[in-house]
């Protein structure tokens, strides 16, 4: 590096970071402060904001209705994260253990669908999940016909109850399940990529060492592979959980009246009810819960991985 005096170094540092700092202040910090201020305001009679300091909006959050929505949002986001992990980690593991030239191909295949607009892809799920959709056409069509035929020709309650079941569509659309399916589909790559990065960096001579020391495959995974790829799991889980919690498009398109999430509440307060202060308070509440959750999560994660580093030190 070029020799600079401490003063010159300070100046060059300031020059280098000022554009991004400017950006963050004007377009992130400033709007955030507006939302904070707004959440203490009151809705005007004609939809404006009256700036009289009040905690009324936060008190409204304690309403069982909103607590229920918060709880539902957390459950949906949590389930989405767990399903993404259960699907994504094995996939990432499989890709990371292919020959190097193949890995790039598989990662590409994973990402390619996401070049299409998110709204369009979510809309496609409506066509799959609705009562006249792909799944239900098969369910009430060929599967129903087969069940009826089998019930007529084979003994047992199973086939007759199956034929009764398949007479009606599954009613997937508009449920929490539909939202979870949509979210898992949407955020799966965000789980796979960090897990892949962690597994790809994993030195497989360590799993051979564990095997050499009498650990079978399950124990090798639990004691060596899992702890050493945990940073990827933590990062992936955050990348899936946070956007799922604040999801708006997916529950709006795939969910029904009984599966509203916080994102939809915030949207409706701002756009439909024109209650900016309460919308801001909901957004604040979500943010505070997320920050608390993230801190706890990473504290716990860091504790178990504090000295996990690549094994380069051994060289």
């Amino acid at each position: 590096m070029i020799n600079l005096s401490p003063r010159q170094r300070r100046i060059s540092l300031a020059v280098l970071i000022s554009p991004s700092l400017f950006w963050l202040i004007v377009f992130f910090l400033f709007p955030l402060l507006i939302v904070v201020a707004m959440s203490f305001g009151q809705r005007g009679t004609y939809g404006g904001i009256e700036w009289n300091l009040t905690l009324e909006n936060f008190a409204r959050l304690a309403d069982p209705l909103y607590i229920k929505i918060f709880w539902r949002s957390f459950s949906i986001a949590g389930l989405t994260t767990i399903i993404c992990l259960l699907l994504g980690y094995p996939l990432a593991f499989w890709i990371a253990t292919r020959p190097p030239n193949r890995r790039t191909l598989f990662i590409m295949l994973l990402i390619v669908p996401f070049w299409t607009n998110f709204l369009v892809r979510t809309y496609a799920w409506i066509l799959i999940l609705r009562d006249q959709g792909l799944i239900n056409v098969a369910w009430t069509g060929p599967i129903h016909a087969a069940a009826v035929w089998l019930a007529a020709n084979l003994p047992g309650v199973f086939w007759s109850s199956l034929s009764n079941l398949t007479a009606e569509p599954l009613g997937l659309f508009g449920t929490n399940l539909a939202i979870i399916i949509g979210l898992v589909y949407g955020w799966l790559p965000d789980m796979v990529l960090p897990c892949y990065a962690a597994i790809e960096r994993f030195d497989f001579s360590l799993s051979e060492a564990a095997e050499d020391l009498y650990a079978n495959r399950l124990r090798t995974f639990l004691r060596v592979i899992f702890p050493l790829t945990l940073p990827g799991i933590l990062a992936g889980s955050m990348l899936v959980f946070i956007p799922s919690l604040g999801a708006y498009v997916t529950p709006d398109l795939l969910g029904g009246a009984r599966s509203v999430m916080i994102g939809n509440v915030i949207y409706s307060q701002f756009m439909a009810a024109r209650d900016y202060p309460f919308g801001a308070a909901v957004a604040m509440g979500l943010m505070i819960l997320m920050v608390i959750g993230t801190v706890i999560y990473f504290r716990a994660g860091v504790k178990s991985t504090d000295t996990v580093q690549p094994v380069e030190a051994a060289r």
Partner: protein
């Protein structure tokens, strides 16, 4: 000794990676308590052989026996052997204690006994007091010793070592060589040691197996492989050698008479069956050659008239590079015993190079590698994806 059950026995094992033969029909018997080295250039199949004993690769053909028991397709975690890996493969998220205890923990040894044995094992490798360090807080030599303790604590029947000193600097390496040899004597466990370093193999081993292109060329004590190499490759790979080309003139029970292209007659020990008229290479070690002035009578035994081309003084010995009349080069290494009083030769001097016929070996030209075998680089590449 042969009546005992061998510690490890390989019965015509082969390993194929796709169309590449990494190990080719290899049979070997390693006795109990032996320090055995597998020596060869990279890609010769020595590591693959070790991995087949350890259970990380399964032989394509043949059988691996450990303590008289056929291993079949038994996985690594069920074999009574432990391995010291090339890069140590210490668990970076565990302390020295946890690393060392891992094997016993997996075997469900009671906690108190684990504790006792971990302290004993760390004591043995002189790492007492380091229990709570993480591997990355240790030096290379210390990490090496943790890897040893982690393996030896399980009291395996056989310890496999895959170039364990490769990552250390020269001085530490020399010290560790002696330490390892000493440790092996104390624990009495069979060591199978893979290395490409001939000096390392000569220093530590009871016996050495020299490998090339998946085949075992020679098995013997360090003295045997050095003094009576079985093939030209072995002579070349272990230590330095001088070579002269010639033709077999006469053949007796234990000696061959060979005529060089320049006309001189030499005597040599045949390394294999020779017939009269065959083309052979004579090999002899630089330190066995004596130099005498060219104006003195021709010495007894094998002798050839040369001129001195170059003299290099390197402290404990002096290396002379001689040139025969038909431009073959002979290297001579002379111990500087007599100091400055020793008779010195200068470049341009005419001299006799002479050496005893019983320390000269006659080889047939190196057998051609059969089609289907690929270069060592291909073997390494073929092995890579299996990791």
């Amino acid at each position: 000794m042969n009546s005992q059950i061998p510690s490890v026995e390989l019965i015509s094992i082969s390993k194929l990676f796709g169309s590449v033969t990494a190990v080719d029909n290899m049979s070997l018997r390693i006795e109990d308590g032996e320090f055995f080295s597998l020596l060869g250039p990279s890609g010769c199949g020595k590591t693959t052989t070790l991995r087949m004993i350890g259970g990380f690769e399964m032989p394509s053909m043949g059988e691996v026996h450990i303590s008289g028991e056929a291993q079949g397709f038994r996985p690594a975690y069920k074999r009574p052997v432990n391995t010291v890996f090339q890069n140590y493969a210490l668990f970076p998220h565990m302390t020295v204690y946890q690393n060392t205890a891992f094997g016993l923990e997996m075997q469900k040894v009671p906690k108190l006994e684990i504790k006792k044995r971990v302290f004993e094992a760390l004591e043995m490798v002189r790492l007492a007091g380091m229990e709570n360090r993480k591997p990355q807080q240790l030096s290379g030599g210390q990490q090496q010793r943790v890897a040893l303790a982690r393996a030896l604590i399980n009291q395996p029947k056989v310890l496999l070592l895959d170039e364990p000193l490769g990552a250390l600097d020269l001085k530490l390496r020399k010290a560790m060589q002696l330490e390892l040899k000493d440790l092996q004597g104390r624990v009495g466990i069979t060591f199978i040691y893979v290395t490409h370093d001939q000096e390392e193999a000569l220093t530590m081993s009871d016996r050495i197996g020299v490998m090339r292109r998946g085949r075992l060329l020679q098995v013997g004590s360090p003295e045997q492989v050095y003094e009576t190499p079985a093939t030209r490759f072995v002579a070349n790979f272990i230590g330095d050698s001088n070579y002269l080309e010639g033709q077999v003139k006469e053949r007796s029970a234990d000696q061959a008479t060979v005529a060089l292209e320049s006309g001189e007659t030499m005597w040599a020990q045949p390394a294999s069956e020779l017939t009269i008229g065959e083309h052979v290479t004579l090999a002899f070690r630089p330190e066995k050659v004596h130099i005498s002035p060219g104006d003195e009578p021709r010495p007894e035994g094998n002798a050839i008239l040369c001129s001195v081309k170059d003299v290099v003084y390197t402290g404990s010995f002096t290396t002379y590079l001689l040139c025969t009349q038909d431009e073959s080069e002979i290297m001579v290494r002379w111990q500087n015993e007599a100091g400055a009083r020793q008779r010195r030769f200068d470049p341009g001097d005419g001299v006799y190079a002479s050496w005893p016929p019983e320390l000269t070996t006659a080889f047939l030209p190196e057998e051609d590698i059969p089609a289907g075998h690929t270069s060592s680089v291909d073997v390494i590449e073929a092995m890579e994806p299996s990791r």
